[in-house]
């Protein structure tokens, strides 16, 4: 896949679907998520990507490894998108994708993108989406530490 410096809205990744939902070992790119939601009627695209950090409470993290209850995770993501569209009436399209399996430091594990005619709704929607995803979607991450420090299943506390 090749992008010019000035990326036009690609037709290759367009769809009549309102949502692009995926929980899989192949995470779509930020550009693909953005292109999915982009639309001539929309002046705003907001995105959020969660990436693997190299540290947790002083321990060096080597990677995260994700497990998911895939059909239910995709169903919950769809439910979150429905809730978001009800809450933020201007939202046009949403992409919500999450990785499974290993996610090395610096790589994205989750990407959210949404579009709306005006900016406020997209930005607030993306915050709503990541909060809801962390609260509702049945996905688990194991954090792996350097050396003999093993690994632990994490828990979203917020």
């Amino acid at each position: 896949m090749s992008h010019s410096l000035l990326s036009p809205p690609s037709t290759s990744f367009k769809s009549n679907e309102r949502y692009f939902i995926r929980v899989s070992e192949q995470l779509p790119s930020l550009e693909e998520c953005s292109q999915f939601v982009s639309d001539a009627s929309c002046g705003a695209i907001a995105t959020f990507a969660g990436t693997t950090r190299d540290n947790f409470q002083g321990k060096k993290v080597t990677q995260l490894s994700y497990e998911g209850y895939v059909p239910m995770a995709e169903k919950e993501l769809r439910g979150i998108c429905d809730d978001a569209c009800e809450k933020f009436s201007g939202i046009h399209k949403i992409a919500a994708v999450h990785i499974l399996g290993d996610c090395p430091v610096g790589f994205p594990s989750v990407i959210l993108a949404c579009s709306s005619p005006h900016r406020r709704e997209s930005i607030h929607c993306v915050e709503y989406l990541i909060d809801a995803l962390k609260a509702r979607v049945p996905i688990w991450k194991r954090e792996c530490y350097e050396g003999d420090n093993g690994s632990v299943w994490k828990e979203n506390i917020e």
């Binding site: 969660g50 994700y66 497990e67 998911g68 209850y69 059909p71 239910m72 995770a73 169903k75 999450h98 594990s109 989750v110 990541i130 995803l133 962390k134 609260a135 509702r136 979607v137 049945p138 996905i139 688990w140 991450k141 194991r142 299943w153 994490k154 828990e155 979203n156």
Partner: protein, 89 residues
């Protein structure tokens, strides 16, 4: 007897001895989520403390969360997933 499918994820999967999926038979008396928790605790001692604690392990029935405190009837062909605290994102 009815037959349901139980799915184990993450720490619950490991606590059960790395079992991901198990078909379980229930008598009509046992055909509810509360009895299922008791049966799973007996069958998988490593899972016992977790599966008996609703704060720690949520159930999903046919891909819908079971609300805390709720006891749902189970019928033949249902799928129950054991959902330890989630950590997506």
């Amino acid at each position: 007897m009815i037959s349901i499918q139980v799915l184990f994820f993450a720490s619950a999967r490991e606590a059960a001895g790395d079992i991901s999926k198990k078909c379980i038979e229930l008598t009509p008396d046992e055909a509810n989520t509360s009895s299922l928790r008791r049966l799973l605790a007996l069958e998988y001692p490593g899972l016992a403390s977790m599966v008996k604690d609703e704060e720690n392990l949520t159930l999903a029935l046919n891909e819908e969360y079971v609300t805390r405190g709720q006891v749902l009837a189970l019928k033949d062909g249902d799928t129950i997933a054991l959902i330890p605290p989630i950590s997506g994102g």
